[in-house]
């Protein structure tokens, strides 16, 4: 079933929308949650919360890209759960390592969480628009989806050195872009 029909089911408050969403995007959302949480039970709870959040936000929203819409919700919920964990230490997993890599792009400064996250997100959007498609996809796979370097190598048919080099250069460009935007100075 295509996305427009699923969204129409949400708008008509038909519970079949949830089952169709689960059939089409269940594995996708679970993969995102697993990349962040590394725990199957937590990931499943996260996915169920995603369906509930989608049910509550559609309507009034009418997303054109349902997959990306659900992915964002899942990632946001997984990140909240990740932050709430008592293990605030570095876990050595790929998501934690990817966040540490990304933190190099931002110099130390005083930030207010909600407002600044949105502003930084807009700045990252501006940066991504200027990136070449392959570099942009690798960047998003690593820092949004939390994929490991090995997964990215397999998907893009690249060597590990090439992927790491692409990410390193992207981070350097992002740092320069954020400094130019006046973020993190």
């Amino acid at each position: 079933m295509d996305d427009t029909r699923i969204v129409a089911l949400y708008w008509s408050r038909d519970e079949q929308a949830i089952s169709e969403t689960s059939a089409k995007y269940g594995a996708y959302c679970q993969q995102i949650a697993m990349n962040v949480l590394k725990n199957l039970q937590d990931a499943e709870e996260c996915v169920n919360d995603t369906y509930l959040r989608a049910w509550n936000t559609i309507p009034p929203q009418r997303p054109t890209k349902l997959g990306a819409f659900l992915g964002k919700i899942t990632r946001h919920l997984a990140l909240d759960r990740f932050k709430a964990r008592t293990a605030a230490k570095r876990q050595g997993d790929s998501f934690g390592v990817s966040l540490e890599e990304l933190s190099e792009c931002l110099s130390s400064g005083d930030f207010e969480a909600e407002t600044d996250a949105r502003a930084i997100g807009e700045a990252i959007n501006g940066f991504l628009r200027k990136e070449l498609p392959t570099a942009r996809k690798i960047f998003v796979c690593r820092y949004f989806y939390g994929d490991s370097i090995e997964d990215i190598c397999r998907r893009f048919s690249m060597t590990e050195a090439k992927v790491k080099s692409s990410l390193f250069r992207s981070r350097n460009r992002l740092r320069a872009h954020l400094e130019k935007e006046g973020i993190g100075l």
Binding site: Y28, P63, T64, K65, G67, A68, F69, G71, K72, R75, H76, L79, K83, A88, K89, R90, G96, L99, E100, L102, S103, C105, L106, S108, F111, A113, D116, A117, R118, I120, G121, E122, I124, N125, L128, P133, R136, K137, V140, C141, Y143, F144, Y145, D147, R155, F156, S157
Partner: protein, 139 residues
């Protein structure tokens, strides 16, 4: 994990959905498979071109027409087309030992033939000439 790190992780959640969708479609493997097949075709094409170039370089002396044989001596010009045996109507100057009239080059007459080694030169025999031979024959 620092606040800055979590802040950036939060900020990544605000990126445009088209970028998320673009990376997701890549992650599904369809472009990956196509890129893999294209890379394989490119590799095969590159190897085939190298083979053709190598064959061309090896045959270059023959194509130019004046090549060197294996001992390094200049070899005579090779004919561009194979020599065909003589046949009726074929005007190629191919001498057949069984047919003295083949070809355009006429056979020289026997009288004009140059003297063979050891034979005395032919004498000019005429009636007013030296009749020594006739006188001796008459007597």
């Amino acid at each position: 994990m620092s606040d800055k790190t979590l802040l950036l992780a939060e900020a990544m959640g605000y990126i445009d959905e088209k970028f998320i969708e673009e990376a997701h479609s890549e992650a599904r493997g369809v472009p990956y498979q196509i890129a893999n097949r294209r890379r394989t075709f490119r590799q095969i094409a590159a190897v085939a071109c190298l083979c053709l170039v190598a064959i061309g370089v090896a045959r270059l002396p023959e194509m130019v027409g004046g090549g060197m044989n294996a001992s390094g001596e200049a070899s005579p010009m090779a004919p561009s087309s194979p020599i065909e045996p003589s046949s009726p109507g074929n005007k190629f100057p191919f001498f057949d030992k069984n047919d003295g009239n083949s070809g355009n080059t006429p056979m020289p007459p026997a009288e004009d033939a140059p003297p063979q080694a050891g034979e005395p030169p032919a004498e000019d025999i005429s009636p007013e000439g030296v009749g020594g031979t006739e006188t001796e024959a008459e007597t």
